[in-house]
Subunit: 285 residues, 4 copies
């Protein structure tokens, strides 16, 4: 099966009649074929969202799509984005000591699961340098102390730019990212963290979840914002625990969860299926 | 919030360029607004499927939609169906001794979860007559023996017709339905049964699953066909068991599962989100 | 299969060597046979917990067990409880308008799933009187206003006592229980409520979870304490939601979850498998 | 916290009164303290199973436990096994082309999750030699053809013995193991494979599950026997799929599942929590 290249339009605008027909007509008049379209109307806010995937074969040259669509976008007050299925996002993985998400992502990348390159891994520790380099990426060690934080972040931003990074994945990177990087990569930083019912704020959450006798522990992948763990949620899942699970067992089960939740979120992002909206996301299937 | 009435087009045809635009244009030219559209292309078979939900307000009168669409359907070799959100399906629930699915459905109906009427419950036993009648439906007792099977089925079909039943739900009805009823209600009979990994054919499956030491038990809701448990799957789920669970515990957990799996399948059907296709289904969200 | 009557010892004490042997020896010397024993050591606190189920056939008369065990309990500073498998707990279900948990429990009771009687249902509304009475229990209507709260609670406590209630199940009872009832039924009031990742305090949580774009919603069953939703957790579970789920869909999925989570918690309690401890529980399998 | 070394007794015998007391008394008389005990009675077969974990500190020297216990074992017709928490199982991982389970296990091993050594990885392909060797184990390439099967298996058995392997993990090893290895490692070969509801025998199961429109796909970890996929089940789990998932998507989700199911099964085995019994297992928590 030859897989053709596709363009994906991501649209949002105030809802009104005829939007689906307007977009479909635009595609058809320009020789395109819609392979997949999904939309959603937030009825309480009156906002229309659409994701349209178009076979590029026969359609407009990729450089002309946005311009050709501009009159419609303007008329409907649309926010638009155009992405292509052969885009290869350049990912930097940031990691501290715990490597479970890092190696999971590298394994998926090597298995061809991710439409991405991973040219760069950055860590504030040296622990995983050899294994990462064998897998292919540059391993950049950027240690950090209270005194060197600002400087380290400038160095980090330099490395991200030099490697032309599109997307930053915080794979258990135990440092807060400062505003300059969040600004430079708005909507392009994905973080993974544990979640609990009820929530535990502050340090050592597994110990506190253990003390509270919770029966489930969870993980949440989200876009990082200035409020580190409060950005738009992309994916969540939970796993069952019992009184027999020590805090260490909970942490181990949490690691298993973090890997799959982060991987699912990353995959959805790379397939242009995530549409951030306010402080939440639509995730099309 | 006023909820307007919608028409839902369910379409399938050989795939070709422009189908989405053709349908959207048809809707737009006739004054309709697409509230929700979802489609799927089976790339291996080259088949296009679409579910389009249209605001009836401003659109064609409901009686003229199918005729107006006929030229497109013919040109594209489409199979089409048009359904309306204010249709109230008339459901008959068939049940034997175990009432867990019956009472679950009656409870959902009373809670307003189902866009349906339930005028009729048929059972080959008398056990649940009073509770059913208090809830509202007629309780028709149609006992069955090896000698009276054909006659009972004729009686059953009579009752279904007299109550103008659209949809038959086998809520743990432990009798095989004969060809006349399956024929009369093709694609309109939903059954629920247990499922196992690996599968156990024949009698007393919970005992055998217990003997085999399975760690999961499942339930499957599907359209009934002549091969009772082999029809198109609508919904499935599983629950965890351990060596501590006796066969009776497994059966109890299985009952919990059967209720939610049947209810989810029924809801998807009533919302016109299920598109049967060969021996499988598409279930749009 | 004849099922014999069993006694269940529930023990907790400071951990020290020989506890398992001491208990097993006590049972054996008194003609008992241990059918099931499970224990747990909280290594951080140094506390030993045990649940021992003993065939009463051949063992001490049930009235003499606690006295015979007293010297061991004293020597080891044990807290003990003795329960019997043929005890039939008398349950009162308290409910407001939403009946999904109420009818679920009544259905399980009628199906013989619960080792309990349900002589009494109390509601501050009249809605479900007929269906409850047909099922068997007395339906006591105790309306409540801001002015009559104290009086209503005294009436409620009277009814609980008159019906010799052992266990109170808050099946979506949307009123806070006052201290007199919590005190009179300490560790014998089970509540069910929704839970979210992250948590939403205050009103209308499904709307707020919807606004936050959560991908999971949960339910928690717990013992009620003065801090209504902060008591020891017995059971939790979650279900997946998407941006397509309205707040109403989330509430509906939440109802499905609440039913099974409450039923599992109740079952664990009735089988004497829950050992509350501080603000958490051990739930033996 | 100093973690002391423990001995684990795994017992099974015909059920009769006093077994728990007999074992507890044996431990106590010999200076041991029971840290954890779990038992199960198969009431239909009348068989008693127990897992008892004893602090070695103060107990019999480890070499004398089995002999000291022998009179009890004989009197009760017990099958017994004694294992120690500081035993480090020597694992060989067998793999073909797909490395997802292999790298998952190596990652867990490096993270200290497994009480084991992994001195040897054997493959009929060369693909993963470098990454495995960097992680530590010997990578033994043993290609196989129809003509060389018997010879390859002899070579494999040689390597297993030379590396003093205790446990063989088939981490997507796409070859049937012959009787000599199954015999030499009875109950010490763990396999992982996909499972479906309903089951699909024969080749290309993901394609066939896709054609059948299943809504769940599963994975099963089990002990390998001569009937490769029919041995005692240790662990199972499932993941949800939709009509949008291609056969390739199902295979990808299946890989995620296989990793965690295999890892959970391996962990249970290494903690001596699995008690095979007939063609099933008890898995103590």
């Amino acid at each position: 099966m030859t897989v053709s290249v596709t363009a994906t339009l991501l649209l949002s605008c105030p809802d009104r009649p005829g939007l689906v027909a307007t977009v479909a007509d635009f595609v058809f008049r320009n020789g395109g074929n819609i392979l997949h379209a999904d939309q959603h109307i937030d009825t309480s806010e009156g906002v229309f969202f659409q994701r349209v995937e178009i076979d590029l074969d026969g359609f407009l040259p990729r450089g002309e799509i946005e311009e050709a669509f501009a009159p419609i976008a303007e008329r409907c007050s649309m926010r638009t984005a155009v992405r292509f299925s052969d885009e290869v996002a350049r990912i930097a993985i940031l990691v501290s000591k715990q490597p479970h998400c890092l190696f999971d992502l590298l394994g998926r990348w090597q298995a061809g699961e991710l439409q991405a390159e991973i040219p760069l891994v950055v860590s504030n520790h040296l622990d995983h340098a050899d294994a990462v380099r064998l897998a292919g990426p540059v391993y950049q060690h950027l240690p950090i102390t209270a005194d060197t934080r600002a400087e380290q972040e400038r160095g980090l931003l330099d490395h991200l730019r030099r490697h032309e990074i599109d997307l930053v994945v915080l794979a258990r990177y135990m440092q807060v990212l400062g505003a300059p990087i969040i600004d430079a990569y708005r909507g392009q930083v994905i973080n993974i963290h544990h979640s609990f019912l009820p929530a535990f704020t502050g340090g050592d959450p597994y110990r506190r979840a253990h003390e509270r006798g919770v029966k489930l522990i969870g993980a949440t992948a989200h876009y990082a914002t200035e409020d580190l763990d409060e950005g738009p949620i992309i994916e969540q899942d939970v796993i069952r625990v019992t009184h027999r699970d020590t805090a260490a067992d909970m942490a181990r089960k949490g690691r298993d969860l973090e890997r799959v939740v982060l991987a699912r979120a990353l995959r959805a992002h790379l397939e242009h299926r995530v549409l951030p909206y306010g402080n939440k996301t639509l995730v099309f299937e």
